[in-house]
């Protein structure tokens, strides 16, 4: 039981961090960023090279991953999405663009970094025994850093001027514009933060999971599942969705035959979306 709770807590926190970046971009720009998993993967590679290969301090490497992905996010927003959103009359155009960027990043990574799985030396070592369950120190570190980042993001969005502008933009674009907010700047900031969060998640999780050039797709799929559960575009929903999926996995793998865990999760998700299509915290359409 205690192992199940530990697994659920750690998975939930990790998933929440992954889902946050995706939901942030969706709320501000109404863009489903299919390249979110690929951004996660790139963040992992930045940490792999800086910390694993060139032996830079891990936390500096993590900051570098966030900055690198923020820059990529700004480039994507400014040169790709901003123009397509302005010109396109259908939402599918941004989705296709997002899919294109995902394929672009994946193939660039495969070409540049090769096909192998990459991992880094542990940042901390040891295993804690808590109530009969095991918690490796690396996972504990990931849990607390992720918790710190989630709280930091919530405080930023709630109490700072750009954070409030982002929330306003998510609620009503025209009203925000009429209040004198630079929409382009806030959109770029939102995309940069979303991408940086993906990069941070990748940089953080490479210490316990490792990555390869193709690992982004599975991450994106799980992130979409989480925001569907929690409610697309709602920050608190992404966190909740992350924990719900994390605990479902932990309980399912512990109590059910392995192959049925995700089958049941997806059946439950379909039934849940029939009853509440906007997710737990989402607003109903219209």
């Amino acid at each position: 039981m205690s192992q199940m709770i530990i697994n659920g807590m750690v998975l939930g926190m990790i998933y929440a961090l992954i889902a946050l970046g995706l939901t942030l971009i969706f709320s501000i720009m109404n863009v489903v960023n299919f390249a979110h998993g690929q951004m996660y993967m790139l963040g992992g590679f930045v940490v792999y090279y800086l910390y694993g290969v060139y032996q830079l301090n891990y936390f500096l490497a993590l900051i570098a991953a966030a900055l690198a992905l923020a820059v990529i996010g700004i480039i994507f927003e400014k040169f790709f999405f901003r123009r397509v959103i302005r010109l396109a009359k259908r939402e599918e155009n941004t989705m296709l663009l997002a899919m294109g960027t995902a394929l672009l990043l994946e193939n660039l990574a495969l070409f540049s970094f090769g096909e192998k799985q990459r991992g880094v030396p542990p940042v901390v070592t040891g295993v804690y025994e808590i109530g009969g369950g095991y918690l490796p120190a690396g996972r504990a570190l990931v849990f607390f850093v992720a918790l710190f980042l989630v709280i930091g993001l919530l405080l930023f969005v709630q109490y700072t001027r750009p954070g409030r502008a982002m929330r306003a933009l998510a609620q009503d674009k025209e009203a925000t514009y009429l209040q004198g907010v630079d929409i382009n700047q806030i959109s770029a900031l939102g995309f940069a933060i979303g991408a940086a969060l993906a990069g941070l998640a990748g940089g953080l999780l490479i210490t316990i999971f490792a990555i390869n050039a193709g690992s982004g797709t599975a991450v994106s799929t799980k992130a979409f599942t989480m925001i569907m559960i929690g409610g697309a575009g709602v920050v608190s929903g992404a966190i909740l969705g992350g924990f719900v999926l994390g605990f479902c996995e932990a309980i399912g793998y512990e109590t059910l035959p392995g192959s049925t865990t995700y089958l049941i999760i997806f059946i439950a998700l379909i039934l849940f979306l029939i009853v509440r299509p906007q997710g737990i915290m989402g607003r109903p359409q219209g």
Binding site: N7, L11, I14, L110, K116, P136, G214, T217
Partner: protein, 403 residues
């Protein structure tokens, strides 16, 4: 002056004509250079990209080495090797269209790949209709058994390695109980089922065999928690991909598991060291000609060439190096006719018996598999069982597949 101009004109004309003649003779020489075209079809993107890319790099490295020697000799004539590579993304639809391109558009008779059961099964009708041969890396027995005869297994199958490894561990390490964990995918599940049967025959106590994880899983802690709880003497990672193996090992060890861990698939030591670190110690897997202590000088040269082609060595290549070499040996045995007629190639299969060029010790390389498929449709890759010791693969023993 007039004579000088005339001489100059004649000299320029002479140079021009000479150059044209040289150019034509060069083109003629190029045109006369014979080419053996090889196809490669496999997964080269996504999480399983390493399976197909290792095939590609092996062909490229070996082809470069052959071509530098002037090509391969078949019936007294030299053939330069060219290859065409297609990514099937592990999708049967793409595998079929890729194979159609190779056999009909490129007119290739010998193809290396695909890498998994689903794609390998999907291309069988194409290669049979086109009269081609493929060396696949999928374990389904139906692919290599009559009425099919155009597919050849390129490596040791899990149902061949499993019983040998379990028996060794039972006799030498006192293993009495066993658990299996597999990815929820057709290949690994088949391999697990074959492994369970082999373990039953050996009288091992099977503690669990139903635990699986979804493709794309990165956190194996929850699923491994359940497996470790049974505390078996041996946990078998059935059909595990090189990307997943170190994470499963790490999760098991961090959960306090002290027993043995093994797999019947080839792994890469760098990935194991990077991701699992010290937890990879004692892990048992099957390799090809990977460990330096068993490599011939030719294999060492191949390893160096592979590094130039791919950027770094991958231990999976120790198994996949055999495919192109065996195609060439068989073509040399069958003669020129087999370049366009695969029936001649098939006839020569039982006659191919050469010294394994990749191993230091003297071993015969031939086609095997009659005991499993009713016909020799498997490359007799030696079954080299490795254990991780001090961050390196060390050969536990070398076995072989029955004829």
């Amino acid at each position: 002056m007039r004579d000088f101009r005339r001489s100059l004109f004649l000299a320029v004309l002479g140079i021009f004509l000479g150059a044209i003649t040289l150019l034509f003779s060069f083109e003629k020489a190029v045109a006369q250079e014979k080419v053996l075209k090889i196809g490669q079809l496999g997964v080269m993107s996504g999480p399983a990209a390493s399976w197909g890319l290792v095939n590609k790099y092996c062909i490229q490295a070996a082809a470069e080495m052959f071509n530098e020697e002037g090509g391969v000799e078949i019936d007294g004539e030299k053939y330069k090797i060219e290859f065409v590579s297609i990514d099937d993304k592990m999708d049967p639809k793409l595998a079929v269209s890729g194979m159609e391109r190779l056999v009909y558009q490129e007119k290739i008779k010998y193809i290396i790949g695909p890498n998994v059961d689903t794609t390998a099964a999907s291309v069988v009708p194409v290669i049979e209709a086109a009269g081609a041969i493929n060396i696949a890396y999928a374990f389904s027995k139906a692919l290599y058994s009559p009425p099919h005869s155009n597919s050849i297994l390129g490596m040791i199958a899990s149902y061949q390695a499993g019983p040998v490894i379990y028996k060794y561990l039972k006799e030498n390490k006192g293993v009495k109980s066993i658990s299996f964990i597999a990815r929820n995918d057709s290949d690994p599940l088949n391999q697990r089922d074959e492994g369970v049967e082999a373990a039953k025959k050996l009288g091992l106590n099977i503690i669990s065999s139903t635990d699986t994880y979804e493709p794309g899983t990165t956190d194996f802690f929850p699923v491994m928690s359940k497996v470790v709880k049974g505390n078996p003497d041996l946990i078998v990672l059935s059909g595990v991909a090189p990307a997943d193996a170190p994470l499963l090992i790490k999760a098991a060890r961090e959960l306090g598991y002290k027993g043995l861990l093994s797999t019947e698939t080839a792994q890469d030591i760098k990935i194991l060291n990077e991701v699992a670190g010290k937890y990879a110690e004692g892990f048992i897997s099957v390799g090809g000609a990977s460990t330096p202590e068993i490599q011939s000088d030719y294999m060492k040269k191949f390893v160096e060439r592979y590094k130039k082609v791919a950027g770094e060595w991958n231990d999976e290549a120790g198994t996949k190096v055999y495919a192109l070499q065996m195609i060439i040996y068989t073509l040399q045995k069958a003669g020129k006719a087999a370049l366009t007629d695969v029936e001649a190639f098939k006839k020569a299969i039982p006659e191919v018996k050469v010294r394994n060029p990749f191993l230091k010790e003297e071993r015969i390389l031939k086609y095997v598999g009659t005991a499993y498929f009713g016909q020799p449709r498997q490359i007799g890759v030696p079954m080299i069982v490795n254990e991780v010791r001090n961050g390196k693969f060390e050969t536990l023993f070398i076995g072989s597949v029955e004829d």
